[in-house]
Symmetry: C2
Subunit: 387 residues, 2 copies
């Protein structure tokens, strides 16, 4: 990387079933991002923008890049929509880091947004469903919950486990979400409730699945070398990695490992010349509880099967050795598709500046964010630090 990047401002709406439409959500998150900058960043200083969204306004409003520019008050600025299913946010941030790195931009706005409620179920199921393989999965009736259910079954069988570790992920992430004023679910759940909930795709029950959320998040990204023009507390992008995999899970060598996550993590650590041990906490893509276990292993923080043990031992709790999803994760904070990856970076920004309030990870110095599109078809890993 020729020039490194830093996040100098960040904002995020609540995630949840909200009254606001996608334009208002965008405006709110972008306004917060500008308000969070200490000095020197007004709309006129933005020279590039990237928007992450899957189905902006339920696919009733297109050309969403132009809409972002307009709603953010930066009409005129070159704006690009990035769409990589649920990893749109991570890929949009990566594009912004490249824009800063190449010298083509000096202050980049990255925003992610999704309005998922108030849209007919059939339409929403369709525009989520097409992000999985169509020929061998979707048209055969396999949903995302179904794919992750298959993966979870296989994981538990391979490692001779019962569903307790999945349950522990849900309990922990709800516990964290309860401390997060922006979370979709601010409600603690008991293990017995999780276990007794209706099954969605066995072994995954209702509490193993992330909700359908509205929300937006926004970042302001500048060259690291100029970051202190904008703030006394920049958050540096220390490593970036991304990868893809076959879309249909049947094409892959292994059902319980996401090769895209593994490659993205290796690239991110290599690009930042960093060790796993340097990371204070993780934000991982737990669209289903099994996703968090896979992530811990694929990202190199646990050998196969060990993520379950670590989770059951409480090692991934907010105040433990390796906090995972201190904001509640997709599970409890919510999963407004395009906003999810941007929201993970927002959490890193808050935590690393020590402004995460009740959910603060003590002494957080370096964060890793992991965003997945499809059931492992694409992934980004971004490492943030305070220099």
């Amino acid at each position: 990387m020729v020039r490194r990047a830093a996040i100098v401002g960040a904002g995020q709406t609540r995630f949840g079933a909200l009254d606001a439409g996608p334009r208002e959500l965008l405006r709110t998150a972008v306004a917060q991002a500008f308000a969070s900058v200490d000095r020197g960043a007004d709309r006129a200083s933005v020279d590039s923008a990237f928007l992450a969204t899957l189905g902006f306004g339920g696919w009733q409003i297109g050309n969403s890049a132009a809409v972002l520019a307009e709603e953010s008050g930066v009409a005129g600025v070159p704006t690009t929509r990035v769409e990589n299913a649920c990893a749109s946010g991570g890929f949009a941030l990566r594009a912004a880091v490249d824009a800063v790195g190449s010298g083509s931009a000096e202050l980049v706005l990255v925003a992610g947004v999704e309005k998922m409620t108030d849209i007919p179920n059939a339409r929403r199921r369709y525009w989520l469903g097409v992000s999985g393989d169509t020929e061998w999965e979707r048209l055969a009736g396999l949903t995302f919950a179904g794919v992750y259910g298959l993966i979870a079954s296989r994981y538990l069988a391979e490692h001779h486990l019962g569903p307790e570790a999945l349950t522990a992920v849900a309990v922990k992430n709800h516990e964290n979400g309860a401390l997060n004023p922006n979370a979709h679910f601010r409600k603690v759940v008991k293990a017995e409730e999780v276990a007794a909930a209706p099954r969605v795709a066995d072994p995954l029950g209702l509490y193993d699945c992330c909700p359908v959320s509205d929300g937006a998040a926004a970042l302001l990204v500048a060259p690291a070398e100029h970051a202190r023009r904008f703030t006394d507390a920049p958050v540096y992008v220390e490593g970036v990695g991304a990868a893809s995999d076959y879309l249909a899970v049947q094409e892959r060598a292994d059902l319980t490992r996401f090769a895209a996550s593994r490659r993205a993590a290796d690239q991110a650590f290599r690009s930042g010349a960093l060790e796993r041990s340097a990371v204070s906490f993780l934000e991982v893509h737990d669209c289903f509880t099994i996703g968090e276990l896979l992530a811990l292993e694929d990202l190199g923080f646990a050998p196969p099967g060990e993520a379950a043990r670590m989770t059951l031992a409480g090692e991934t709790r907010r105040d433990a050795r390796l906090p995972v999803n201190p904001d509640g994760g997709l599970k409890a904070k919510g999963h407004p598709i395009g906003a999810t990856g941007v929201g993970q970076a927002y959490e890193a920004f808050c935590q690393l500046r020590g402004s995460a309030g009740a959910r603060q990870v003590p002494g957080a110095e370096r964060a890793l964010a992991h965003n997945v599109g499809g059931a492992g078809a694409t992934a980004t890993v971004t490492i943030f630090g305070v220099g």
Copy 2:
């Protein structure tokens, strides 16, 4: 720009109503791009990819970035879908130039694809329509042809012109398309036929409108400093510019000037430290014939109203002073949305290497490509040269 970029390989399918589906179109264009490289570029050397598409497979197949990686034989490589309506291709190339510029990639695959025929009309109209403003235009019944018809009416009225210049654009671009084996329309048309054709949105008739085309195009982009590892005849990206504007035309100051095109052109010339006079020929976004006249003026090659005179005087013909759309343009070559901007770069690649066959612009040394999304809502301008 820290590191400049070069195109070291390019491929393109025919544009037209084709039998092939989007996967096959992608495969064909990508295979041609690899085949066009003299040496040293195999699938294993690609380390980043960008896909431009609006409605890949009629919105029945999502996560199209992952599909690109798979169909191109580069599964594993980080792949990003860029969607900026009809400017998707230009913005995808711009992202690739940033990836090379930042040092995050050494060989980037850029592909654009659209399958537009064999899709129900209502669905296609809807997924094209949402790229215009929804609240004030689409839901009021205003189509893209309608918007461009309004603009054309205003242009002709402002400059006290009849429709002859619009007709001349159509005649010229059909003449060029007739020489292009990849063109959707390989048919010369007479001015009388254009004038007598059914009206679509007065003053625009059938021959003033680009067709609905299938097609794909692909590029291989490398750092300029390493381009000769791959080919003896690299085509350098000498300038890149992009911009946005309000999506709804009612929000804009002027109906007959696209501010996004003007800003993108100024940025491209500034970034390349180039003069307009250095450009040998233009590839401009003539989705409707009026688009070519606006482009000539917005890009700084003619003062307001002068584009009509230049066109009527034959100055934009293939063998004249400033050839415009030697490949036939969107008008005759076709307009497979995501492939269009990538296909413009393919034409620059062929022309600047002297391999454009019957449609070769004599002595072409520098090309400008201009890609527009929505009726001027976003635009890219890219300048190519042979160093």
